[in-house]
């Protein structure tokens, strides 16, 4: 009985702020009452019409997409290398090393980036690619953690040994066995990375240039204006994060389904 009440209370605590935001985004006037009065879509129309929000929206999507792509290009080979490392001590060391950024405050990372990239030698502060680079540092540990632990859980080593004894070459093993077997873990890793990238504020706020601010950075400005507008803009961020995760999931599943179909032939 008591566990159930704790669960319900916790759920309410989780959902209430979001529910309130959604309600506020559709309310016409919200001053000193508990709930707003009147219903309108005006705030969403305002957000959609705002050029800086429109720009931030596409920037955020672009940065998230690039971060995910880099995670696959860099993270997948890295995860495989860590998994196949010969000595257990080396594996443990590599895991500690790639988990380090989790303990690193994004603020510290941002200051480091500002120091390095405001110099005359590397004058890239404000470019969208620098934003992507930072998001890779922040997201990659989660991607690696997901993929490496799944490699162990799946017994990928034994699967590869089996494939090798059955006559496959290294390249065949990678495309027939390793990639398809890992599709679910790559997918869940990308969902985490996409959600992190879309919602990231600390780092982006300091490093993004004026013309390529991400959505959360622009969102902060909204809170100096009308409550309904701020609520609507926040709900859009929530929807954006969810959409990025889901489309990332779907497109990754699409491609892996293709390779799985190839493998099944």
């Amino acid at each position: 009985m008591i566990p159930r009440w704790i669960t319900i209370a916790y759920l309410a605590y989780l959902v209430a702020p979001i529910a309130l935001l959604v309600t506020g985004s559709f309310g016409e006037l919200w001053l000193n009452s508990l709930l707003p009065t009147g219903a309108t879509l005006k705030w969403y129309a305002d957000v959609a019409a705002d050029p800086s929000f429109r720009r931030a929206f596409t920037t955020s999507l672009f940065v998230a997409a690039m971060t995910c792509a880099a995670c696959i290009a860099v993270g997948l080979p890295l995860a495989y290398a860590v998994f196949r490392a010969r000595s257990a001590r080396l594996r443990a060391f590599a895991r500690v090393l790639y988990q380090l950024p989790v303990a690193l405050p994004a603020l510290v990372l941002a200051f480091g980036f500002i120091l390095v990239f405001s110099s005359d030698a590397l004058p890239w502060l404000g470019s969208v690619w620098l934003l992507v680079a930072g998001h890779i540092v922040l997201g990659l540990p989660y991607f690696l953690q997901t993929v490496v632990s799944d490699m162990q859980r799946l017994g990928l080593r034994a699967l590869e040994d089996a494939a090798e004894s059955l006559g496959s070459t290294g390249v065949q093993r990678f495309f027939h066995i390793v990639l398809p077997a890992l599709r679910h873990s790559v997918l869940s890793g990308l969902i985490i990375v996409a959600a992190l990238s879309i919602g990231e504020f600390q780092f982006s706020n300091l490093v993004s240039g004026f013309l390529n601010r991400t959505y959360p950075v622009v969102l902060l400005q909204a809170f100096y204006g009308a409550t309904g507008f701020a609520c609507a803009a926040t709900v859009v961020l929530l929807a954006l994060a969810l959409t990025a995760s889901v489309t990332g999931a779907l497109s990754a599943q699409g491609t892996t389904r293709l390779s799985a179909a190839g493998a099944a032939g």
């Binding site: 799946l154 017994g155 034994a158 699967l159 040994d161 089996a162 494939a163 090798e164 004894s165 059955l166 006559g167 496959s168 070459t169 065949q172 027939h176 066995i177 398809p180 077997a181 599709r183 799985a260 493998a263 099944a264 032939g265």
Partner: protein
């Protein structure tokens, strides 16, 4: 074996794990076509190392490995054409049963129709007709085992290597699969090596048993020979239950042991020699009355009932005896027939 046409031949094969003394040493073993050799030994004795050396996952430091008459000592895994059944089965989780079984044919560029036909035929042979569209996780442990067997056999490999194939199964399935492995292996007439630590499995499956201890082969012989004439106390104790009793020869037909003086069949060892004797528990006979040759009074310490049999641990004189019998009542005396006493080679 005698023809020299062994499908698998190991000659003085050695392998040491870098930075340790563990490995296998000077292994010589030949497996003929159609023969099933079971390699048995305690954990860490090098059984799996032996299998991985033959399959090519490990490279031998010394000696020679021949498969199908060809020197494969340094060949790559995929060139060796060994069908391997892994302990975990290692079925590809994202492929259907049919795709799993057809995989070896796919990487050999066998035409699609042909490989489906051969995969289906092999699935039927292992008793899984109608399961080809399933995914591995939709099958029971025994069924997964059958898929792994079919996949390892479909490309007509030079040898079949099975690494503790039954250890992940429940007791009932294990018995069924034991018979199935035997049937399929005989039907395919393929040279096979099965690794296990289970003596029942070894005795019931093998054409020959190879007993491995600390990386060395202690004895290679038929199950009956291993059981009836074990090379030493280790083999006697590892394969089958055994009473190992140390004693001193007092006459050509008598040995002084902690049980008391034991009459034995006449033998040539001189009086005073220290010997180790083997008494199999099922050869010891309960007696109702005391008196007579080799009849000892016993005090039962443990009595385990298994239905058809009982296994008893008894105190006898200053020693202990394990006894296996179908007698139901109380047991106070036992008789040790002279021909039930075996002298082991190295005391």
């Amino acid at each position: 074996m005698s023809t020299g046409a062994s499908a698998v031949r190991l000659d003085g094969v050695g392998f040491r794990y870098p930075g340790s003394n563990a490995g296998v040493f000077d292994l010589s073993l030949a497996i003929a076509s159609g023969e099933l050799v079971v390699c048995i030994g305690p954990s860490g004795c090098g059984k799996t190392t032996l299998l991985r050396l033959i399959a090519g996952f490990l490279r031998a430091d010394a000696g020679r490995i021949e498969l199908g008459g060809r020197d494969m000592t340094t060949a790559a895994v995929r060139a060796r054409e060994c069908g391997v059944v892994f302990q975990s089965y290692a079925l590809f989780p994202h492929m259907t049963v049919r795709a799993n079984v057809a995989y070896p044919l796919r990487v050999r560029n066998v035409e699609a129709g042909e490989r489906t036909r051969r995969a289906e035929a092999m699935l039927e042979m292992v008793g899984l007709a109608g399961f080809s569209a399933r995914l591995p996780h939709e099958l029971s442990g025994g069924q997964q085992q059958r898929v792994a067997l079919a996949r390892a056999l479909v490309f007509e490999p030079a040898a079949l290597l099975l690494d503790e194939p039954l250890s992940a199964l429940d007791a009932a399935t294990r018995l069924t699969m034991r018979d199935e492995i035997r049937r399929i292996q005989k039907q395919q007439n393929i040279a096979s090596l099965l690794i296990t630590h289970d003596q029942d499995e070894a005795l019931s499956l093998a054409d020959r048993i190879a007993v491995l201890r600390d990386g060395r082969l202690v004895q290679v012989a038929t199950p009956q020979e291993i059981y009836d004439r074990p090379a030493d106390g280790f083999v006697a104790g590892f394969v089958g239950r055994a009473n190992l009793i140390d004693g001193d020869v007092v006459a050509a037909d008598a040995v002084e042991t902690p049980l008391g003086r034991l009459a034995v069949l006449p033998q040539p060892r001189p009086a005073g020699e220290r010997v180790r004797l083997l008494l199999r528990p099922e050869r010891i006979v309960p007696r109702a009355e005391p008196g007579g040759e080799n009849v000892f009074g016993v005090a039962v310490l443990h009595d385990r009932f298994f239905g058809a049999n009982r296994e008893l641990d008894c105190a006898v004189g200053n020693g202990r005896l394990k006894i296996e019998t179908s007698v139901r009542g109380a047991i106070a005396h036992v008789h040790v027939p002279r021909d039930a006493v075996q002298f082991l080679a190295n005391p």
